[in-house]
Symmetry: D2
Subunit: 453 residues, 4 copies
C-alpha cells in the first residue's frame, strides 16, 4: 500500500505541532532584548545550515513575550533592521550614472529592509509560516497605537503576497467527513452567522443541500485561510433564517437544486488581512459546483449589508433635511420594538427602506469612488451583479440592528463576470437588475426636492 507517500507529505506538519507544543514554557523569563539578539544572530548566520536553529530559537522567544515586550521589539525592528543609508546613497549614485539593470539591482537590494531577510529566515523553520501570520496579527493589533509600525507591516505584506500566492493555495471541500480538528476551526472562525454548536455545524455540512469549501496553504496545514458556506436551493433564497434552521430542508437531493446560494464567507486569519483570496475562492467553488451538479443555474449570494442602519440613521435621521417628512416619520417607527410584528407598519417601512437601501448601495461611495458598503464592494468588484434587496431577509437581532433586516442577493452570471468586473474596475460601473434600479428611482422621490443624481 502506498501510504508512506502521503504520510510523509504531512509528517512535517505533525512534527510542527509537536515542536510547537514542546517549545512553550521552559521556564526562563525572556524579553524583547533576547529576541533582538536572536534575530541578529539569525541574520548573521550564513543563511543556511544554522539558520533553522536560530530561527526556531527566535520564534520560541517571541511566543513567550507579553504585549509590552512585543511592542518594544517591533519598535526596534522598525529602527534597527531597516536598510543602510550609505549603501543606498552609493547604489543610487552608481545607478544614476548608467541607469542599467545591474546598478538597479544593486539599488533594489540596498533598499530592501533587513527585516525582509529576517522574516524569510524565520520562515525556514517548520511551522514558521503560521507563527509569522500570528506575529502579524499581533502587529496589526499593536499598530493601532503605533502608526510607525506601518513599515514593518509593509514588509510582512510584501512577503505574504509571495508566500500566499494563489498558485500555492488548495481548495478543499469541508463536510462531515472532515477531521474534527478542522471543523472545530470552522466553528471558531465563522464570522457572518455564528455557528452555535456541533449540531448547527452538522446541519450546515449536510450533503443533501449544503456545501462548504475552504482554502488551505500547505505550509500552514490544517488552519483554513477562508471558507465559504453554500446552500443548494430551488430558486433564489430571500431569507437567511430558513437556511440557518437546523430542522427544515428545502430539498433532499442536491440534484434537485437549481441555485447555489453563498450565505457566508469568512476570513480565518487576522494575520493575513489584506492578502485577498475571496475572489479566487468564489470562482473555484463555482467551478467545482458546476462540475458536481450540472443542474445548477444560478450562483448567487445571500449577503448582509453591515453599516446600512448606521448610515440610515446618521444620514437621514440626524440631518432631517433632505428626507420627505412622511418617509421620515415612517423611518422613525424603526425605534418601535414591535414593528416586525405589525404587518401594516412593516409594509410601510418596507416601502421606504428598500428604496433607500437601493440608493445606499448604488450611490453612496467611499473616497475611491467605490460603494461605501464593503460587502457590495467585494462582490461587485468580483464581477457580480446587484440583483435583489430582500425585506426581512435576516430578522435576527443582529440583522435588524445592522441592516434593518435586509439581505442582498448578488448574482454571479458566469458569462458576464469578466465584463462586469472590467467595467467596475474601469469606472466603478455597478451592474444591477431593473428591479433594484426601480427601487433606486423610488428612493430618489423620498427626498424633498430631489432631482436625481
Amino acid at each position: 500500500m502506498n501510504m508512506s507517500f502521503l504520510q510523509e507529505l504531512f509528517s512535517n506538519i505533525t512534527q510542527r505541532e509537536a515542536l510547537l507544543r514542546r517549545r512553550t514554557g521552559n521556564g526562563l523569563t525572556v524579553d524583547h532584548s533576547h529576541l533582538l539578539e536572536a534575530c541578529r544572530a539569525l541574520l548573521e548566520s550564513d543563511g543556511e545550515a544554522s539558520s533553522i536553529t536560530h530561527a526556531s530559537h527566535a520564534l520560541e522567544i517571541y511566543s513567550r513575550l507579553d504585549d509590552n515586550s512585543k511592542t518594544r521589539f517591533f519598535e526596534r525592528l522598525g529602527k534597527d533592521f531597516s536598510a543602510d543609508p550609505r549603501e543606498i546613497d552609493l547604489a543610487y549614485a552608481a545607478y544614476r550614472k548608467d541607469r542599467e539593470n545591474t546598478a538597479l539591482q544593486r539599488l533594489f537590494d540596498a533598499c530592501e529592509p533587513r527585516r525582509q531577510e529576517l522574516l524569510r529566515r524565520l520562515n525556514l523553520t517548520a511551522g514558521g509560516t503560521y507563527e509569522l501570520v500570528r506575529m502579524r496579527e499581533d502587529l496589526l493589533r499593536l499598530m493601532r497605537d503605533h502608526k510607525d509600525f506601518a513599515a514593518i507591516n509593509a514588509d510582512f505584506t510584501h512577503l505574504f503576497a509571495s508566500w500566499f500566492n494563489r498558485g500555492f493555495l488548495v481548495v478543499k471541500r469541508i463536510d462531515w467527513n472532515t477531521p474534527a480538528a478542522i471543523l472545530e476551526r470552522i466553528i471558531r472562525y465563522e464570522a457572518v452567522h455564528k455557528i452555535r454548536d456541533w449540531g448547527d455545524l452538522r446541519r450546515r455540512l449536510d450533503n443533501r443541500d449544503r456545501r462548504c469549501y475552504a482554502f488551505f496553504h500547505p505550509a500552514i496545514g490544517d488552519e483554513p485561510l477562508i471558507f465559504v458556506e453554500v446552500a443548494l436551493t430551488r430558486g433564489l433564497p430571500d431569507q437567511i433564517q430558513p437556511i440557518l434552521d437546523t430542522e427544515s430542508y428545502d430539498i433532499e437531493d442536491p440534484e434537485a437544486a437549481d441555485t447555489a446560494a453563498f450565505f457566508g464567507i469568512s476570513n480565518c486569519q487576522v494575520g493575513l488581512r489584506g492578502i485577498s483570496f475571496g475572489n479566487f475562492l468564489i470562482k473555484q467553488v463555482v467551478q467545482e459546483l458546476k462540475q458536481e451538479l450540472p443542474n445548477l443555474k444560478n450562483f448567487v449570494t445571500l449577503s448582509p449589508m453591515p453599516g446600512f442602519r448606521k448610515w440610515l440613521e446618521s444620514t437621514y435621521l440626524d440631518e432631517q433635511v433632505a428626507l420627505d417628512p412622511e418617509a421620515l416619520a415612517t423611518l422613525k417607527q424603526l425605534e418601535n420594538p414591535d414593528w416586525l410584528q405589525d404587518p401594516e407598519l412593516s409594509e410601510r417601512l418596507n416601502a421606504v427602506i428598500r428604496p433607500l437601501a437601493a440608493r445606499y448601495l448604488l450611490k453612496e461611495k467611499n473616497r475611491d469612488g467605490q460603494p461605501l458598503n464593503p460587502v457590495a464592494r467585494f462582490h461587485l468588484g468580483n464581477g457580480a451583479e446587484l440583483h435583489r434587496i430582500n425585506w426581512q431577509g435576516d430578522i435576527s437581532a443582529q440583522g435588524l440592528q445592522q441592516s434593518t433586516g435586509l439581505m442582498i442577493n448578488y448574482l454571479y452570471v458566469l458569462d458576464n463576470i469578466e465584463r462586469n468586473h472590467e467595467q467596475y474596475i474601469t469606472d466603478h460601473t455597478i451592474v444591477c437588475s431593473s428591479s433594484v434600479r426601480d427601487l433606486s428611482r423610488r428612493g430618489r422621490k423620498l427626498f424633498k426636492g430631489e432631482t436625481g443624481k
Copy 2:
C-alpha cells in the same frame, strides 16, 4: 470515509495537468511580440480577478515559442519591464530628506523591477510555479550567450528564494510503493550513478538495505526537487560497485545496519539552480533514519571527486615542475589501460595518488578560499568531516576518468556538525581524520623541495 479531504487537496494538481495538456497546440503561430502583449495586459489588469486568465494565456504563448523568440522575449523583458527611473529619482530625493521608513519603502517599491510583479502574477495560475521553473531553465541556457539576462535571473532568484522557502518543502520517502509517475522521474534525474532500468531502481529502493528521500514542493506536485540515495551497511563502505550491484546484499534486515551511507544526491530541476536544498535534506534524512533505525551509528557519504583527475593532469603532469620524478613516472602509468589489472602497479599508483588527493581536497582552494572540489565544498560546508579516501572506490569508466577511481567518505558526526559548520564558515577550516592528514603529509613529500604549506 474521509477521502474527500485529501482528494481535494490534490485535485488542483490533477487539474493542472489537464490544463497543461489542453493548452498545447491550438494551431496559431505566435512569437515574442504576442507574449509581450500578454504580459503587458497582465500587468495592467487589476491584479486579481482577471489576472489568472491573462497569466494562463501568457504562459500558453511562452510554451509555444522557439529559442529565438524566447531570446527576444527575454531581451525586451530586461529592457522594458525594468523600474521607472523618474520614480526612483523622486523617491530617492524624498528618502534623502527624512531617511524614514515610509520614504524607504517608497524607494524600495520604486526600485523593484516590474518583472517581479509580472512573475508573481504569472505564478497565480495553477501549475504556474512549475512553468516558471522551466522558464528559468531556458533563461539559464540562453544566458550563456546573453550575459545581460543576469538581471532577469536575479528577479527569478529573488522570488524563487521566497517561494521555495525550506518551510514549504516536504520530505517524502521514495520506495517501491511510490507512484510510478514519480519513480520515473527518479530514474531520469539520478545524476551521480545512472539508473539503468526499473530493475536497477527496484534494487536501490529495496527496504532491506536501501532508503531514498526526496524534497517536494506542494505547488509543483510530483516533480521532485532533490533526492538522496542511502545504503544501509555494516561499517563504512569504501566501494560503490557492491552498492550498485543489483544482486548482492550486505545485510537482509535494516536493523542490522550500523551505517547509513549517502551514495547519491541529485538535484532535479535545472531551473532551481542556486536555490539550495541539499543541506536541509541531508539533515532531515538523518533525523528520519535515526528515528526509524536507532541502531545507526554512522552517517557518512560515499562521494565522487569530480575534477580530480583533470586537476591531477593539468597541475602535475603538464607543468612537470613540482612533482618528484619517481612519483611523476608512476602517475604516467595511469595512461596504461591495464593498470587496474596489475596489482603491483596499482599499489604503486595508490601510494602516489591518494596522498595527492588528500592535498587536492585540503589545500586546493577556489577564489573564495573554499575547496576547489565542489562535492567537498558542499559536505564540508554542511558540517561534515573529511574522513577517508578510498582507493578503487569507483572502478567504473566514469569513476576512473573523473577521479582515478577514488571515492571519498565524508562523515556527519551529529554532535560536531554545528561546530564544524561554524568553523568552516568562519575561516574555511576543514575538519579531517588523522589518516587523511597523514596522507596529506605524505603528499607533501612527493614534491621536489616541498617544504609544506
Copy 3:
C-alpha cells in the same frame, strides 16, 4: 499525485451511502410477502449476474418493513428456507454406504439451510454487509419472544464468523483528526462512561495523555465495531473520576507515562453480538502502544464491576443467613444516602465491601465454572490478572449503584498473558495479586461459621 488509488479504494463506500439514501421511500407499501418473493427470486437467479439487482431489491423492501412484518418474514425464513429433507435422506444413505469425503460433502451441502445461501447473496450488494448486521440486530430483538428464530440466528452467526474474521479487521487510532462522522459514532456507542458532548470527547482524545483505538471492517466502512479508550498515567490509576475530568491533566507529555490504563471498551454493533473482537483489539493496542511509547511498563484496566451490588444485596442482605451480624449491619448503611460524605462510616463500609468483592470475583461462578461477573470473565479469559480492588473508584451515581463505587484493575503482564490464558481455559484458574487474595481471606471471615471454600 497518487490519490486515485486510495480514492477509489473508498469510492464504493461513498456510493453505498448514496445508494442507501436513494433507496428509501419510493412510496409503495410493502410487507413480508413482497420480501419473501424477492428472496425467492434471488435464490433462483443464477447467483451472479442478476444477483446484485435482486439482492438490492430485497434489502430495500426489508428496510421498509415494520416489526410485525419483520417477525412474519423471519417466521417464514425459519420454515420455508430450511434444507430439503429428501435431499438429506438420500445424501445420508449414500454417506452411510462409503463414509467417504465425496458423500460427506454432498451431505454437508444438503444440510446447509438455504438461508445461508440467501444471506451470502444478500451480501453481494454494496453496503449489504452492514444491512445484514442491522437485520440481525432486529432478529435478536424479536427473538426474545420467538425462541424458534434461534436457527436463523445460527445461520447469521455461522456466516458472520467468516465475514468478520479477525484477519479482515483493521485497527485505527481515533483522535481529534478523525473525521467527525466517525467521532459522532464514538460518542453514540460509548457504553461504559457516557460521553457528554464534543468537549468531553475532545478531552478523551487529547494526544497528551489519552489514546483511543477502534476496529473497522472494510465492507462496513466508517462504522466502528468496537473501541477502547486508554489513559496514559504515572502509576496505576485507582479512580475513574480524575480520568473523566475534562480539566485536569496527570501528565502533559505521553513520554512521561509508565502506565496505559484501559478505562472503556465498548462494542458498537448489537447485530454482531457474540462475534468477539475485544481480545484481539486489546492485544493489538498493547503492541501499538509499546511501539509508540517504549516507556510504558504497565498495561492495566480500570474496570467497573456491574452486577456486584445486586449480587451483594440479593445474596447477603436478603438471605441474612451467612453473613456476620456486624458486617451485615454495616452493609445496611449503604442505604444511608450520606455514607460517602461520612469518612468514618465510609471506612467501615470499605472494610466489609472490598473483602466481599474479592470473594465475589474469585468465588462466584456461573454454570460454566467461570466468574459470574462478565467483565472479570472477559479480562481473565484474555489472560489478565486480578490486580486490585479500588474503594471509591467510581463515585458517580451509576458507579455507586452498580458496584458500590468499586473499580477493578486487571493487569496485563505481557510475559504472563499466554500462560494465564491457558490456565484459565484449562480449569478456570484465576491469577490474582496477593493483596486481592488477602482481601478474599478477610472476606471469608465475614461469614458466620465460614470455614472457607
Copy 4:
C-alpha cells in the same frame, strides 16, 4: 491533518509483509508431521486468544514444506480432518425424528469437515488470507495427480466464496500514479497480451486513451485479484496490433472517444480459480466509465478465440469428410507460412474461415450446452452479444496459431444485458448481430450436403 486515520487502516498490511519476511528460514527442517501437529494444536486451542500464535506457526511451517511434504499433508488433511461419522449418525437419527431446525443445525454442524474450522482459524493471522490462497494454488496443482484432494478443494471453495464475497471487493483504477509495487504485479499477471516492459505498461495506462481497473480485497492488500484493460477509441476496433502499439494514438483526448474496448481481462490469483469476479468487474467498470466519460456509447470487447484453430484442424482437416473440397483446399493453405503476405490468398482464406468461426461460436457446444469457446461462454453469459468477427484482428504469432488471427467483438448493450443474460441462462440462447448470422449461414454452405442444423 487526518493521515493517521488512513495510515493505520493499512498499517497492518505493512506489518504483514514484515511478518512474512521475518518468518522464512529460521533453519530447522520441518515436514508434514510438524504441520499436522500444529494444526491439531490450533483446532484444540479455545479458538480465540491463543489461536493467532498457533495459526502463524502452522502457516510458517507450511511455507517451508516441499511438494512432497505438502502432498502428504493434504492426504492426512483429507482423511484425519473430516467429520466424525458417529456424530453424524446420531445427529441424523435425531433429525429424522422431528425434522426441526434445531436438529438440522446439529446435523449441519456434525457434517462440516473439521478442515473448515481449521481454515477459518488459519485465516485469523495477519496475512493469513493470502497464504491460504497460495495454499490452494498448491492444492490445485497437486490435485492433478490426487483426485481425492477434491474434498479439500471443496472446503476451500466454500470458505473462499464467503471471504471473497463481491461486497468485500474494491475496484481501483490502475494508472501511472499507482504504486510500482502494484504495477509490477500487473505486468506479471497480464495473461492475454503479454506486457513486454515498463514502457509497454506505461502506454497501456496512458490517461489519454487507456483505462485499467482491478479488483482488490482488503485482507490481501496490494495483490490484485483480476484486472481489465480498456482502450478508448472512435468506433469499434477490429485489430489488436494498433492498440498494443506503444507509438500510435487513435485519440488524444478521452472525451473524443465513443467506444470503450475491453481488450484484456486477466485473473491474477491461481488460488482463486472458480471464484468468479470478472462479471462484477466488467459491470462496475462500465459504470465508472460512463460516469467519467458521458460521451461513451459503445462498450465492447476485442477478444481472442483460443482453441479455434485447434478445433478447425481437428474437426475439418482431419476428418476430411464434411467440408466442401474447395473450402478444404483453401484451408490447407494456412500451412503456407506466407499466406498473410499474399492478399489474394488471404482474401480466399477469409471467405472460408470467418464463416466457420461464426459456426464455431454459435453451434459448437460443450456438454452443458454452452459454447465450446471459453471466452464466448464468459461474455455471452454476462449478457453480451456476439457482434463481429474480425479478419486479421491479431496477427501476432500467438494470434495466428490460436485463432488464425481472428478477433471477436462482444458488445455490451447496456439496456439488453439483463435480458440477454436471462435468455442465455434459461436456454443458452446466444444473441448475435445479423452480420454474424449471415456469416454462419455462409458457413453452413461450406459443408458437403449440409442442410443446416
